[in-house]
């Protein structure tokens, strides 16, 4: 991890006020933002840890806990809400045995995230699975996709 953080730092060292870019870069490299990363950047750049932490907790794009291999993003915007995205979210939670508090399965395979609006309101409710768009998402369609990913992972 140290070498990855060092590379990230090198890319942004010369710029001022690059807290967001550093966090984005770190997250794309590591999948999340570990506490050690914030501590490291803070001491190297003379920017207080609290600044990084404040930014990282403000934007929902940042994740401070390790995420699963597969990311399921459920849109909970107005249109999706009206079209019953809740049902899909509940079904996914049941299938992955996620409680209200945890968003990642215990085997680290899947993470379920809720976001405000993905902008696909015309095909609400919308769910993304590893970036693949499922419009007018029916419970069966989504669960089937999850099953197939899980099966593929098992085979590997």
């Amino acid at each position: 991890m140290e070498s990855i953080l060092k590379e990230v730092l090198l890319r942004y060292r010369s710029e001022n006020g690059s807290v967001v870019s550093i966090l984005q870069d770190t997250q794309s490299q590591l999948g999340y933002i570990p506490q050690e990363a914030i501590t490291y950047f803070a001491s190297e750049l003379n920017i207080p840890e609290s600044r990084f932490y404040g930014v990282a907790t403000f934007y929902s794009q940042f994740c401070l806990k390790p995420r699963g291999k597969n990311i399921i993003t459920a849109c909970c915007g107005t249109a999706c809400h009206v079209k019953g995205v809740d049902k899909v979210v509940n079904a996914v939670s049941r299938r992955l045995r996620l409680s209200d508090n945890d968003h990642t399965t215990s085997d680290g395979e899947f993470t379920l995230e809720k976001v405000a609006c993905l902008g696909f309101c015309s095909i609400a409710p919308v769910v993304l699975i590893n970036g693949e768009v499922f419009g007018k998402a029916a419970v069966e369609k989504v669960v089937k996709k999850i099953d197939s990913i899980a099966r593929k992972d098992d085979e590997r």
């Binding site: 003379n46 207080p48 609290s50 600044r51 404040g54 907790t57 403000f58």
Partner: protein, 845 residues
Amino acid sequence: MKMKEEKIINFMINDMPVKAKEGTSVLRAALDNGIYIPHFCYDKRLEVYGGCRLCLVDIKGGRKLVTSCTTAVQEGMEVYTETPKVISARKTVLELLLVHHPLDCPVCDKAGECQLQDLAFKYGASEGRFSAQRKKDPERLDAPVVQRNTNRCILCGKCVKVCYEHQGVGAIELIGRGFKTKVSPAFEETLNCEFCGQCIDACPVGALNSSYYRHVSRAWYLKDHDMPCPYCGCGCITTLSMRDGKIVRAKGVEGKGQNDGNLCSRGRYGFDFISSPQRLTKPLMRKDSLYSNNIVSSEGSTCNDNPFIETSWDEALDFIAKKMSQIASEHGHEKIGAIGSQRCTTEDNFMLQKFIKESIGSSNVDSAALFGYEKASRSFESVFGQRLRHISWDAPLSADFMLVVESDITSLLPVWGLKFLESKRKGSRLVVADAKKTKLSRHSSSWLRITPGSGTALINGMINVLIREELYNKSAAEDVAGFIELRSSLKEFTPDVAAKASGVTADEIVNLAREYASAKERIIAITACASENTKSSSLFVAAANMAMLMGDGPESLQVPAEHSNTLSMIASGVQAGVNGKNAYEMLYQSNTLRALYIVGEDPLVMMPDTTAVENNLKSLDFLVVQDIFMTDTAKMADVVLPAAAWAEKEGHFISATGNVQKLEKICSSPGEAKPDWEVFSMLIKKMDSRAGLMSFSDVSMEAQLKASSFMARLERSKGRPGFIPVELTIAEEPDSQYPFRLVTSTILQHSGSFSMLSKNLDAIASEPYIQINSADASRLSINPDAFIEISSRRGSAVAKAVVSDEVPEGTLFAPVHFSSARINALTYAAVDGRVPLAAVKITKI
């Protein structure tokens, strides 16, 4: 820097004509003219934020209400602060704030002085239209001195900005988003910061509070007194809140004193030292010295192993007078000496020197300032022909280039240190030359990590460049005596040579010299404290040489006096005169004295090479110590007298900026403790029955007269200036046996015996420690928090290791004031221009 002429704007607030400088905000102008506009997030120290929306005002002709904090005044503008429209908007803002405010005013320390409470009261927003949703975060009581209750927070963000922008720390931040937002340290850990407490004073509600004040008093029972702080030379005004004859709180109030509302952790939390149970309450006499003088028979008193017995003032003073007269007649007056205190009032010090000089007839009066401010002042005088003047509070602000040499200003004079940060924020260059990573070095434009103690070499290197590249002020410098000598002495001291001696590169020295020379208004700031061991008189001489070479006046060298009353102690006559012995001769040279009178100083902890001091004190026939608690030095005394502390006596302080400030007596002193001046008044009468007792007003008048005439002489006196070539010599270089350099100083929370008695400050920093670089620690396999022993050729001390890259490899740092690990047993006492750095070794335990 010359300020450009500022335009004055005329406009109206509530139909009243108001004037303000161009660029002033409407809110500031209103407040300056006594018109209150409610506000939460505005603070004059900070960049305007405009977040709380409470300072809305109506401007005639404007389409909508505007926030007065973000609106600049304009000619002819007509502002209304309390129209029905404004009041309605303000009510809505308050209503929204009260939706999730817990309204736990009955148990909130802030009640009675809470802005939210006052405004809710004023605007009568009692019934909200929204259903209340309360936050239920647990209170955070885990950190020392600062308590957080995020439920009461209205998210104005002032604490966050004061901490980050103004204080330069950034320990807290607004964490999260929306309803869940709260003020917290990163990762919601326990708050761990400087503990300046500036956030507490900034908080408009009860979200941030002082632990020691929790549920102590309702605000309306408090009586406030403004007093100068007893700690450093800043001379900040602290507002002390009293309840039932006790100080229960200290705060900074905007507009009071030159600190203008700012305080550091010592000023805000250190006041409780006066109520320490360790205070002395009765005069004490050593049994042994009573037996040997046949005052008390030794029979029947062996069962008690306390070496002292309590006595009355009368007996104690009779004994002192008798012994002093006896020693004076047997060995001569000049065998008696005294050490004064930089923490005692002008009156106290004046009476001490009066007693010694007039009643005893000796001129041996000096203080620990010899190792600090006096050292700097005399070096300065030797070059500029006049003694150091007091610092200027705003000197950093008017400079566009600041060079700070081996001085942790934000720890030693924390509030003045903020001015350097402010100046840097406003665009000035701040260059810090220091081996240790400090708050100033972190905020500097450039940090030169020089070898400890090598400041003289760095400056000499710069002078070489200035002369070689002809960057100096020829017309001013070349006529001054000693110029030729200075030039020839530093001819060979090229940047390459200087680089080798100071541990930075030659290019860095050349660039620094060029930058220094090209600045319009430059200052060099150096602290002069007895506890620091990286500076010798040669550094101050070198700095003065460089300033004079540029044709700069004495004010371009800013050297602050260390303690609350250092300047006035010197001014009131506590300094070694021509015929008198100085503190070094009295405490380090054997057989100088037979009797010594020490007031408010603990040489056995606070002065270098304590073993030498101890041996010298042991050889005395008679030692009197007058202090507020049983110091290590007092334990060696024949007579110990209990003194009244700050806030328990009247008197005056002169701050490092030269402000004469009055102290009130607001508390009673414990037991029979008496003000120092009164003790001397009684002693003078004991020595000579014809002398009358002096009242405080007599003493004060005489003392003030003496101090002010001294200060006035400082302004006037002008000897002949002349360059003095100096070179860097270090007392003890590391070698194979003692491979580390030991750097000492005081730290932010502690500066000596006062702070050590404070329970609040003890909660923040209670343990002695030794900082060691991580590379050294891993090479010697020293774990963090492991106990290590360090020893020099003179002594040793044991303390916990703190592994930190604040110190460079090969260097250890240790604070000196903890008597439980007497670091000064290792240090070196040098008054001859050598840097008193000590070489030490580490032994693992």
